[in-house]
Amino acid sequence: MEQLMGNLKRQIIEALNLKHLKPEDIGDDQPLFVEGLGLDSIDALELIVLLQQHYSIKIENPQEGPKIFRSVKTIAEYITAHKPA
C-alpha cells in the first residue's frame, strides 16, 4: 500500500501538472479537492484517465468519484480492491 501510494503521488503530480509539489508534500489522507490540493473537475477527469492508463481500471459509476478520489489513500484502496488479476 505504501509503495502504491508513493507511485500514485508521482503519477498525480505528472498527470495534473503539479510541478510545484513533491510527492512528500501530498499527505496520504489529505483531501485532493477543494480545501486540500485544490483540484477541480478537469483534474477529476485526468484522475479517471490515470486509473485507466496505469491500472486498467475503469470507473463504471461516476457517482462513486467523490468517494474514490477523496485522497491518495482512498484511490490506493480502490485500486487494490479493483485491479484486474
Partner: protein, 203 residues
C-alpha cells in the same frame, strides 16, 4: 495612452523597455517556469496552463505589477483585446498526440486561443469587453482601431496585444492602454508598430 508594455521574446522579458528577466539556453517550458518563480507570484494554477496561457499570464503580471486595475476601474471597464498567428495550434498538437493513448482533459480545455484571455480575466477580475483575433502577423492598425472603438464607451482601460506560440517559438507584446492617464506613448498605429518592433533594450 499606453501606460506599460511587455515584450517576451528571445528568452527575455522586457517591461517598458527594460529587461527584467533573462535566461539563455533554456527551452520554453523551463524559461516559463523559471520566469514564474522569479516573479514570486503565488498562483498554482499557472503550472496547469498551456504555454500560450503561461505567456499571456506572465506578460499581464508584468503590466499590472504592484497594481490592481480595480483600484481605478470597475471590472466591466477593463477590456482585453488579443491576437496571434497560430491560434491554439501549439496545444492542439499536444492534445492530438495525447489522443493516441488517452486524450487529456487538461489539455483539451486549452484547445481554444481565447482561453488565455479567460486566464488573465480570472486572475485580474476583469469583466469587460474582450476579443481575440487570429492574423498572419501583428497588425497595429487592427489593434489601434478595434481598441479605440471598444474604449469609445465606458471602458477606461484595456490590455491588448499579441501572444503567439508554436513549438519552441514564441512572441509576446502586451500593453496596457488607459484612457485618462499619462503614459509612455500614444495609442496609435505608428506607436504600436514602433513598440512592437523594439529590439534595443536596457538591462
Amino acid at each position: 495612452m499606453i501606460t506599460h508594455y511587455c515584450i517576451i521574446r528571445d528568452q527575455n522579458i522586457v517591461l517598458d523597455g527594460k529587461v527584467i528577466f533573462s535566461e539563455k539556453n533554456s527551452d520554453l517550458d523551463a524559461f516559463l517556469l523559471n520566469a514564474y518563480a522569479s516573479l514570486k507570484v503565488d498562483y498554482p494554477k499557472f503550472y496547469k496552463m498551456d504555454n500560450l496561457s503561461k505567456l499571456g499570464f506572465l506578460a499581464a503580471e508584468m503590466l499590472l505589477k504592484d497594481r490592481s486595475l480595480l483600484n481605478d476601474y470597475a471590472p466591466e471597464q477593463v477590456a482585453l483585446v488579443l491576437s496571434n498567428a497560430h491560434s491554439s495550434t501549439d496545444t492542439d498538437r499536444r492534445y492530438t498526440l495525447s489522443s493516441r493513448t488517452a486524450p487529456s482533459p487538461a489539455l483539451f480545455v486549452y484547445t481554444l486561443p481565447n482561453i488565455v484571455a479567460g486566464e488573465i480575466c480570472i486572475r485580474h477580475k476583469i469583466k469587460g469587453e474582450n476579443a481575440f483575433f487570429v492574423a498572419p502577423a501583428f497588425d497595429p492598425a487592427l489593434m489601434a482601431d478595434y481598441t479605440d472603438m471598444v474604449m469609445a464607451g465606458d471602458t477606461g482601460a484595456s490590455i491588448g496585444g499579441w501572444v503567439d506560440v508554436l513549438g519552441g517559438h514564441y512572441d509576446v507584446f502586451l500593453y496596457l492602454h488607459e484612457k485618462n492617464k499619462a503614459g509612455l506613448a500614444e495609442h496609435t498605429t505608428g506607436q504600436l508598430k514602433e513598440l512592437y518592433n523594439t529590439t534595443l533594450w536596457n538591462s
